[in-house]
Structures are given as C-alpha cells and as structure tokens.
C-alpha cells in the first residue's frame, strides 16, 4: 500500500503527459497539417481568377470562363488522351508483373531473394532523374526512337513496386490454411487460384492497379527523358508553366488532373481501409 501511495504522484504526472499535449506542440502539429494542405486551395482559387497575366493575390475578380477555354483547346485533349493511354497500359503491365513477383516472393525462399527485393524497389528508391537519364542513355545507345512505347516502358518499370507492395502485404496476411484446405478438398492449383486466392487478392490487386495508374498519370521527371516530342498531360502542364500561354488554363488543367488522380486513390483507400496495409502508405 505504501509503495502505491509513493508512486501515485509520479503516475499522475505520467497520466497528464499522455492525455494532453502542450499548446506549443499542438500549434506546431497543426502548422504542419496546414502547411501540407493549404497550398492546394490556391490552385483552385487561381483557376477562377480574371487575371491571366500575373499571379496577383487576392484575385481581382472571379470567372468560370477558363473551363470552357481549356475544353476548347485541342492540345489539352491530346495530352490528356496520351496520359490516359500510357497510364492504362503501364498499369496492366505492372499488375501482371507485380503480382507474379509478389507470389514468387511470398511462396518461395530462394538464393538471392534479398537482391530481387532490392531490384523491385530500386526504380522508386533512386531519384527519378537517375531512372530517366538511364533509360534515355539506353535508348540513345540502342538507337531507339521515342514512341508511345518508350513512355510506357519507363512508367511500367516504376509502377511494378506499387502493385507488388499491395499484393504481398495481402498475401502475408491471408492464411495459408485456406489454400491447403482447398487443395485437400480436391481443387487443383488453377481452381484454387481462381476460387480461393484470386477473390482474396482482388481488392489488393485492384488497389495496387489504381495507385499505379495514379502514379503513372502524375509522373513528369522520368517522362521528360522518355517522351521526346510527345506530351503527356504533366509535360503539357510543365510547358505551360515555363511559357505561359493562357495562365489560368494551367490551373484548370491542374484541377482536372487532381480530380482524375484522386478518384483511383480514394477508391484504393476504400478497398483496403479495413485492413492493416492501407493503400498509399508506401508510395
């Protein structure tokens, strides 16, 4: 009893420190949150400004005409269409290769496994510029002309890891007993894959694919080295930023890009939110 009473004051201190944060800490934390999220609002605000020459704040007036101006520009649609085509194909390649790699890494132990993990991670571990200039130099050495496929090649390479991460996380949590039970009950490997493994993986696979799509749709650094004269939407935007033509049009394009990337990401989040491995935690 005595020891209890002795400990009491200290425990009080401990309780207080774990219950409530000081004002300074709370303020610093909220500063971080606002710093991370406020800037995006400016993009939206400037999409409606009447001032197309400078970045004046506050905007002199508001208008929605830039949306129709953007939709009337053919170069915008061309860039958007190219981006969608690249992202879809890169996503599909990444889904196949990422799932294969995840299945192999989950199911087997083999010599050099660590190196394979490193190889899968490398394309996003090294700065984008290294990946970009490497591909550029390989294309130069091999006299490969820049085409749609050179862009896809680069994108699929760094998208594999996103699918891989999602699928292997799901595999690690699924019970091997399910697969054994299915085989014991007479299903062959393909039936087990079709009826047991695939339904179990489906949401993780879909989430990985969606994140891969978003990653590809957004990518600009690697793409500048593999696209030549072609313009994906981010490259189109970069050109508009460097040589503004109708400034708020860039903002409208940015708003559209955000909407297009957010849908798959939110979808991926909902598909995996009830699980431990929330999608996007390992970009």
């Amino acid at each position: 009893m005595r020891s209890d009473r002795l400990l009491a004051p200290n425990r009080l201190v401990a309780d207080r420190s774990s219950a409530k944060a000081g004002f300074g800490l709370t303020a610093a934390a909220w500063f971080g949150v606002l710093f991370l999220n406020l800037p995006i609002l400016f993009i939206i605000l400037y999409g409606f400004t009447t001032d197309d020459k400078s970045y004046s704040f506050p905007p002199p007036g508001l208008t929605t005409e830039w949306f129709s101006v953007t939709f009337a520009r053919a170069d915008f649609w061309d860039a958007l269409w190219l981006s969608v085509r690249v992202a879809l194909v890169a996503m599909m390649i990444a889904m196949v290769l990422g799932t294969c790699a995840a299945a192999a890494m989950y199911r087997f132990n083999f010599f050099g496994k660590e190196s394979v993990t490193l190889l899968i991670l490398l394309p996003i571990a090294l700065p984008g510029i290294v990946t970009g200039i490497s591909l550029r130099s390989a294309f130069a050495l091999g006299d490969v002309p820049f085409t749609y496929w050179t862009i896809v090649l680069g994108h699929a390479t760094f998208c594999i890891v996103v699918v891989y991460n999602n699928v292997i996380a799901r595999l690690r949590r699924s019970s091997p007993a399910l697969i054994e039970a299915s085989m014991d009950l007479g299903a062959n490997s393909f039936q087990t894959f079709r009826h047991v493994i695939l339904p179990n993986l489906a949401t993780a696979l879909l989430a990985g694919g969606m994140l891969a799509f978003a990653l590809s749709f957004d990518e600009v650094i690697v793409t500048t080295f593999t696209a030549g004269q072609q313009r994906t939407l981010p490259i189109w935007m970069l050109n508009e930023l460097i040589r503004p033509h109708q400034r708020p049009v860039t903002n409208v394009a940015a708003i559209i890009v955000m909407a297009i990337t957010f849908l798959p990401i939110i979808g991926a989040y909902y598909l995996t939110r009830d699980t431990q491995d929330v999608a996007g935690s390992g970009k």
């Binding site: 800037p39 400016f42 970045y55 990422g98 192999a104 490398l122 510029i129 393909f190 930023l241």
Partner: protein, 313 residues
C-alpha cells in the same frame, strides 16, 4: 466410390498440368519470377548499366557524335569550378531541406504518435497522405502562385506592414532575390513542402514503436518530462529521422523541376543533367553528372545505416 477413383485416376489435362507444377515447385517459381525479373533486369538494370557505360564515352565537339572510346574525361570535367559549385549548391540545399523537414515533421509526428486519439490520428494520417498523392507538378505550381511577388505571402506581409522585413530577409546574402519565388528561400520552402510527408511517416512510425512502459519507467524513476523526452524518446526516434532523411536528401539531390520553376536561375545537379542530355545533346556528360547523386547517396546510405535507418523503414 468407383466413379471417384475414376476421376482421380484420369484427371483433366489442366489437372495434370496442375499436378505437374505442384510436384515441381522450382518450375513454378521460375515461371512466376522470370517475367518480372526479365523486365526489371533488361530494362532497368540494362539502362543503369548503359548509363555507367555512357559516362565513360565522350562527345566529339566537332562532329557532335558520341565517341565510344573509354575515357575518364567526363569525370574530370565534374571537378571544374562551375560543376563543383553546382554539386555543392545541390548538396547544401539537400542538407538544409532535410534539417528543416525534420524540424517541422517531428512535432507533427510526435503529436500523431502520442497524443492524437483514434479519430484525430486518422484525420492527421489523411492530411499527410493527401499531398503525397496529389500531383507533384500541381503542388510545385501552387507555391509558384503563393511565393510570387504579387502573390499571397508578399501580400500578407504587406498587409501586416511587414513588407520591409520581408525585403530585408530577401536582401540577405545567399538568400538574395527580388521576391520569394526567385530566391533560394522559395526553392527551399517548396522542397520542404514537397518532401515533408516522406519525413513524417517514418518518424511517426518510430515514435509509435517507443514502448509506453519505457516512458512511464523513466518518469517513475524521477525524470522530468523534458528529460524523458531527451534521454528516452529522442534517441529511440533517431532511426526514424534517419530513414526520413534518406528520402528528403535523395529526392532533393535528384530533382530538377523545382529549382527550374522556383528560385534563382543558378542550376542544380538535376538541371545540369537535363541540359546536358537535352540542349547540348551530350549524353555522356549527363551520365557522368547523374553518377554524382548516386555516389553521394551511397555515402549517405552508409551513414544512415549506422544510425539504424533501415530498421525504421
């Protein structure tokens, strides 16, 4: 019973293939592993190797053709005064960005890990992930708008009557620029903003792993909260900070879009690489320049490993 033995004895061709694979796991492994390995091995490792190869070639100034004769000329050129100053500028920026990111990330991560309740934590988590997943270029552009001479930050300072103070900061040596969007300060702010989530997540994970019992033991043994923080929590969070710093440092080293759009026109490593391969068509020199961030990162990773960064990833 008879029909059952029948089906077992004469399985379908698919079933036979299934059994064939089941009894030969090595073959299955090969089938699964070969496609991704071929892709990454040929396309990615192949390209990296070609980069290394190219860096030892040289561009003939007269013909504009790449001479495929090994030389270390490109690497020697890296040590010219101009190139050296580009490298130092980039590494210096990467170091500053890393330190500032850690300073902003730590309280946020600390609050998330120790004080936020379940709902608050989810909210903070989304707030950190949201920017990470929104378009990189759009986020850089947002800062171009905010930092511009006629933009929001200059406007706020002027409204508060602090315009002179901002001008004074901008007139300081090193920072020097006519507005935030044309000074190193603006470049730094944008870099910190873009890479901050990469610092927050590992730090938060590391702090989350600090056992509550250790903190309680420390205070039971008479340590004041400040002492507990310095002597128990901080050392255990260092691996997380080191892990986060790998990202902030490496990403800053390799970026060329941010310094191109925001900041003084003095080039960074990424811009040098981009210009060599683009306007001057000197891919060998660009390749040699791209080796610089790889070399710096190799050293950096060796240090980070000693600080335990890899356990916190």
């Amino acid at each position: 019973m008879a029909s059952l033995t029948e089906t077992i004895r004469t399985p379908s061709s698919l079933g036979r293939l299934s059994t064939y694979l089941y009894t030969r796991p090595r073959l299955l492994l090969l089938l699964l592993l070969v496609p991704p390995l071929l892709w990454l091995g040929i396309i990615y490792l192949g390209s990296l190797f070609s980069l290394l190869l190219q860096s030892f070639f040289q561009l003939d100034d007269f013909t504009g053709q790449v001479v495929m004769k090994p030389t270390i000329g490109n690497y020697l050129r890296l040590f010219s005064a101009t190139n050296l100053s580009i490298i130092l500028r980039t590494a210096g920026m990467a170091a500053v960005v890393t330190v500032i990111s850690a300073m902003i990330a730590f309280p946020l991560a600390y609050y998330m890990a120790r004080y936020a309740d379940k709902r608050m934590k989810a909210l903070f988590y989304v707030a950190v992930m949201l920017p990470l997943w929104s378009n990189y270029l759009v986020r850089v552009y947002a800062w171009k708008l905010i930092l511009a001479k006629e933009g929001a930050i200059h406007w706020i300072f002027n409204q508060l009557g602090l315009g002179g103070f901002l001008d004074w900061i901008l007139s300081l040596p090193v920072i020097e620029g006519s507005s935030l969007s044309t000074s190193y300060l603006g470049t730094m702010i944008t870099f910190v903003y873009i890479w901050l989530p990469y610092m927050i997540l590992p730090v938060q994970a590391a702090l989350e792993r600090v056992p509550r019992s250790l903190v309680e033991a420390s205070s039971d043994l008479g340590a004041k909260p400040g002492e507990t923080f310095r002597k128990v929590i901080l050392p255990l969070a260092i691996p997380g900070v080191a892990a986060g710093s790998i990202f902030t440092f490496s990403l800053t080293l390799g970026d060329y879009i941010i310094p191109q759009l925001i900041g003084s026109s003095r080039p960074f490593i990424g811009q040098a690489v981009y210009q060599f391969q683009g306007t001057s068509g000197d891919i060998p020199m660009a390749a040699a320049f791209a080796m610089v961030p790889i070399a710096i990162m190799a050293v950096y990773l060796a240090i980070a490993k000693r600080l335990g960064a890899f356990d916190a990833l």
